[in-house]
Symmetry: C2
């Protein structure tokens, strides 16, 4: 079994352990932040961590009513700008905690008066030293180049943070159970990937809470399967990119029940007219009916809690497709684990 597959299966345990270990720190942080006059949340990351932030952006903005901005690190690092962040909470997210540019964003933000938070898997990292407070993912060292357990760990921390800042309750305690449940799809996904062994291009679609997942699955497919994988929201897909879809062009889709359902249905109908090939990760019957293939998800996962359980079969898909294509998922060509961009 590849390291990647092994780490995928660790996720229910990692998620539960993280909830337990960080619970108390989060409660204190929540009290502190609620008393501060935060009027902007800025999220800064690259790679998979940035995809987790795409999710965090929707979750935090929708549940807290505080505007959220996804940082453009170059504004700080290359252009040396110092935006006014006096009333901002700036969150840096990095698996290793050693992303030089993200740490640079945190340092500059701190100088500009922001309260800074790090989300990382490494307690002794530079990020943990720089940030005012650090939320730790308790994943153990991530050995696979392709991030999996740290990605869902980062997403979990956005739930924990949102739970502190939101008015309504968020039932994040259910997530580890859902994660364990969907791991049982492994043998089904293993059969399914055979159909995609010769796939060279595809588009991954997701919207709202699952928009970040579309970026993440696309990234996994690029890293571990060398598939040229585009990623779009089902809304943006109609603005131009639809033109690349021809007969049998594969479109992979995160399609839970909930508010994004109608737009995913509309897209699937259009894809059917174009004779495209669709694979839906879904717990909606009508979406399943309209798709060429389906990964069936548990019915009781509601849209707000869907992003972590829905990415897991997608991670399995990438890891198992990599194997079926004869690629070593743990040693993607041209890549290394820690990227220190500036």
């Amino acid at each position: 079994m590849s390291l990647m597959l092994q780490e995928i299966t660790e996720q229910p345990v990692v998620l539960e352990r993280t909830i337990q270990a960080e619970r108390e720190k989060l409660a204190k942080l929540g009290t502190f932040l609620r008393n501060k006059d935060i009027d902007l949340i800025v999220l800064a990351a690259r790679g998979s961590s940035d995809n987790a932030c795409q999710f965090g952006r929707y979750l935090l903005e929708v549940t807290t009513g505080i505007p959220v901005s996804l940082s453009a690190p170059s504004v700080f690092t290359l252009y040396k700008a110092k935006p006014n962040l006096k009333r901002a909470l700036v969150v840096g997210v990095s698996q290793s905690g050693e992303g030089v540019d993200i740490n640079n964003v945190l340092e500059t933000a701190k100088e500009s008066g922001a309260y800074t938070l790090g989300i990382t898997n490494e307690a002794d990292s530079s990020m943990a030293k720089i940030a005012d407070e650090t939320l730790l993912i308790h994943a153990g060292r991530e050995k696979s180049v392709a991030a999996t357990k740290t990605y869902t760990g980062q997403m979990l921390h956005f739930y924990l943070l949102a739970a502190q800042l939101a008015d309504e309750k968020i039932a994040f305690e259910k997530i580890p159970h859902f994660a364990a449940q969907v791991l049982q799809l492994k043998s089904k996904v293993e059969e399914l990937v055979e159909r995609y062994v010769f796939m060279e291009n595809c588009v991954v679609v997701g919207r709202g809470m699952n928009y970040g997942n579309s970026y993440e699955l696309a990234l996994k497919l690029m890293e571990t399967c060398y598939v040229v994988a585009e990623r779009f929201s089902s809304a943006d897909f109609f603005h131009g990119p639809l033109a690349i879809v021809e007969r049998r062009f594969p479109v992979l889709m995160f399609a839970p029940t909930g508010v994004t359902r109608q737009s995913n249905l509309d897209l699937l109908k259009r894809l059917q007219e174009l004779h495209a090939d669709s694979l839906a990760i879904t717990n909606d019957e009508e979406i399943a009916k309209l798709s060429s293939r389906t990964i069936e998800m548990p019915k009781d996962v509601d849209e707000f809690l869907s992003p972590i359980p829905f990415i897991i079969p997608a991670q399995l898909f990438a890891a198992l497709l990599s194997k079926a294509k004869g690629i070593d998922a743990d040693a993607p060509r041209s890549l290394s684990k820690v990227t220190k961009t500036l």
Copy 2:
């Protein structure tokens, strides 16, 4: 000549006309905004207009020091959230002014106390009626499905707005002249596209001020050439996507002199090791030397002013490649001009 090509050549005139026609309105708006306590700018758009916003984000954040957020329209439309935007300037950008979701963002933002601004090519559009103030692109009706003259018109408006809010002077008056100058590259680009007639995939790279352009060229290649075109910042490209690059894989790059130069050089060196194929739109000698092919840009265009002159040969590249591939750029399959997503 296709409508698209015709509209590309209109750009110097459109840009100059827009500067002259909107100058006075902008001056008044500037005085008004400088007196308001704006502490956040939110940009909302889809498709090409969203790519213009990607540029606007860097320009405004770097030059004004006000944090900028690219809106996720679904937060407003699907999740019905009402973020607190009391001290925000919210800018909706839409060629037609009829993007239902973007207009919805403007309406909700207005209710939340934001000052709203529309940037559109249509004076009688719904957007112009909703927004507190409207900045008009004076492009004449855009008939081509693929936006070109309205894209650069939108970018120009970000310069005009930044010039009002920034401390330092921005020499936007030079842009129409640069635009006219680079149109003369047409015959060179026409020769060049022959080499790419069988290109089916590619990656477009840009960073900082030219990050939005990488999205825009990729979109043009998808719409008018049916090329599966990925888009990345040269920083993010090292986080995983590099794995899809194999011998002769085409990477198109916006690479002006300036602060992004070093990271583009680093990427080009890595691409050379991988025997990839690179096409640089550049006015830097070393970058030109490292690239498989080059579109040579005028030396006197500095990075801050590069995005409009640099996208024009890229638009020509897409329009002429479309023709060379035997596609009708004015009638991309599956698309219509106005997209009314919700």
